[in-house]
């Protein structure tokens, strides 16, 4: 079925990826709406016109970056949200997983946080769609949990949304403290833990 990549397609894929990487780097200190196509091609070392072979516009590139940043993250939901014996232990796992992801892909996280409310509509929509998928997946996972008995569909959706937003907040908090003194980072982790724990407490007493 799957043909050998072919020297031609492989080279194209490489330059495309180089454009994405260069753009992501440039976006560390500016927003997508001010990212110029020439700027990107210059960083890659390629002619400006070559850009059009891969993307219609920088907005188009932005949408591709959303896919790159969030697309591969869905499988993590199941393992993270799956029920565990100890609630606190699960929270600890989730927080450390977020911390690890932020440390491993800071530019991706920054990009999502920045462009979620950014000035480029198609990118905002792409992010919104991905986050909606996350919320659906979290909701599905919550529904399997024993403590979800008696919960209405609306309430499950509301809780899933709360979790997704809280994860983004946590990620962006960790991002801000990435190159901060050790002690401040530990405080950030502790804050994130307790906030999730408080939500967890509210969840167990929701039906009172």
């Amino acid at each position: 079925m799957s043909h050998t990549p072919g020297v031609r397609q492989e080279q194209k894929r490489k330059t495309r990826q180089a454009l994405l990487d260069a753009a992501l780097g440039l976006l560390e200190e500016q927003s997508l709406s001010s990212l110029g196509l020439r700027e990107v091609t210059r960083a890659v070392g390629v002619a400006p016109t070559a850009f059009y072979r891969h993307f219609h516009s920088t907005a188009d590139l932005g949408v591709a970056l959303v896919e790159e940043a969030l697309g591969s993250l869905h499988p993590m939901i199941r393992t993270t949200m799956s029920p565990a014996e100890d609630d606190d232990e699960r929270i600890d796992r989730a927080v450390e997983l977020i911390a690890g992801h932020v440390a491993a892909h800071p530019a991706h996280v920054r990009f999502i946080a920045r462009e979620r409310h950014g000035g480029v509509q198609p990118v905002r929509r792409a992010i919104r769609e991905q986050l909606a998928r996350f919320a659906e997946e979290v909701k599905a996972e919550l529904a399997t949990d024993a403590s979800a008995a008696g919960w209405s569909d609306t309430d499950l959706r509301m809780l899933a949304g709360l979790y997704v937003d809280q994860m983004l907040i946590t990620a962006s908090l960790f991002l801000e403290t990435l190159d901060a003194p050790e002690e401040e980072r530990r405080r950030a982790v502790e804050t994130a833990r307790r906030q999730l724990r408080l939500i967890s407490v509210g969840r167990t007493h929701w039906l009172d």
Copy 2:
């Protein structure tokens, strides 16, 4: 003490405000990092060089916009967070207050949501500082509440931060549904209410 404004200073103030207003309008569909100084002066109908009489740069203007958007909001904290007989009624009041503010100043809210993680460092810092002030004020208000007995300082700070973040999330949710069908807006309000209520439940059972 306070001299009569003076025709001169008054005129200057007017153009400065016109620049701020025009910028805010232009920022509805782009980020600050792509906002050009010429763009702003053109929208006001003034020479490009006049810009320098009021701001060093567009980043400088952005900082001024942060002050305009958030500076006058602090007094609202006391009245919103102040203890009430009924917890749910207070939540309803808070949610409607946010909804009203978003409806009255959508551009300001959009600006804050967009530039909080945006590409212009001084503006990010200005917003962070204002939000930290909000958190401090919320924390102070929480401390006066009877149900805060036995809470550690760290936990009060953590809860205050959670509230501030949740209010921003709610505001940006309302912003997205501003020109959506009536029914979707009602759903958004209901979601916001329940999320705050869940946090409230978690808060009352925190010390168990």
